[in-house]
Symmetry: C2
Subunit: 124 residues, 2 copies
């Protein structure tokens, strides 16, 4: 739901419209923060967001989140983790997993160093 | 999970530790935004946040969200709505309902006009 609009977003319905893995789609905005969802499977590259924390919430499946300097986290549905700014991290999932992310508008999924990434498109 | 720490938050476990309705507790922070959870039942007063949007995600139960100038929204688990800044709104729930909210740190649950509200305490 774009800024200023009133309506509801059904996550299951939105996930059902995603047919590409590792391609975050924006489903809601809170001020200048975007709520994104993605289907993920396999390993994503290690990357870092120097200027922002990044929240992950698992909706379905299981996400392993490796964060430099910490024990790997295994997140199941209803579990949240926040990667602190500046900390290299890598999400991986053995089976296809549905995740929700929260981060400032314009945050690229590959971090600050790799311009090949995406900031996510709207999934209205 | 407080800023800078790495760990996971299990929402079901956190909800299990809340024994007071309409009392938001902070479970995670992303930069200067807080993720809060609350158990709610009954009617909350109409209120307004002049300077911020406010996100609601229903985790369990059913939340009715009245927003001035819009049709009432009925949110079920896995459904999100964002109340735009400056829009009077009122959440109500017939049966006890578990909700997750996202808003800038320091946002008071009763809005800007009623100092009796709370900004939420940490539920580590």
């Amino acid at each position: 739901m774009r800024n200023g609009l009133v309506g509801k977003v059904d996550l299951a319905e939105r996930f059902g419209r995603i047919d590409e893995q590792w391609s975050p789609r924006i489903v809601a905005a809170v001020n200048d923060y975007d709520v994104k969802i993605a289907k993920v499977q396999g390993e994503f590259p290690w990357h870092t967001h120097d200027d922002t924390d990044e929240l992950f919430l698992v909706v379905d499946g299981r996400l392993t989140l490796e964060v430099e300097g910490a024990d790997p986290l295994v997140l199941e549905p209803g579990q949240i983790a926040v990667v602190p700014r500046g900390r290299p991290h890598r999400p991986t999932a053995q089976a296809e997993t549905q995740i929700l992310m929260l981060e400032p508008r314009g945050t690229r999924n590959t971090g600050d160093e790799d311009a090949s990434g995406t900031i996510g498109e709207w999934l209205d």
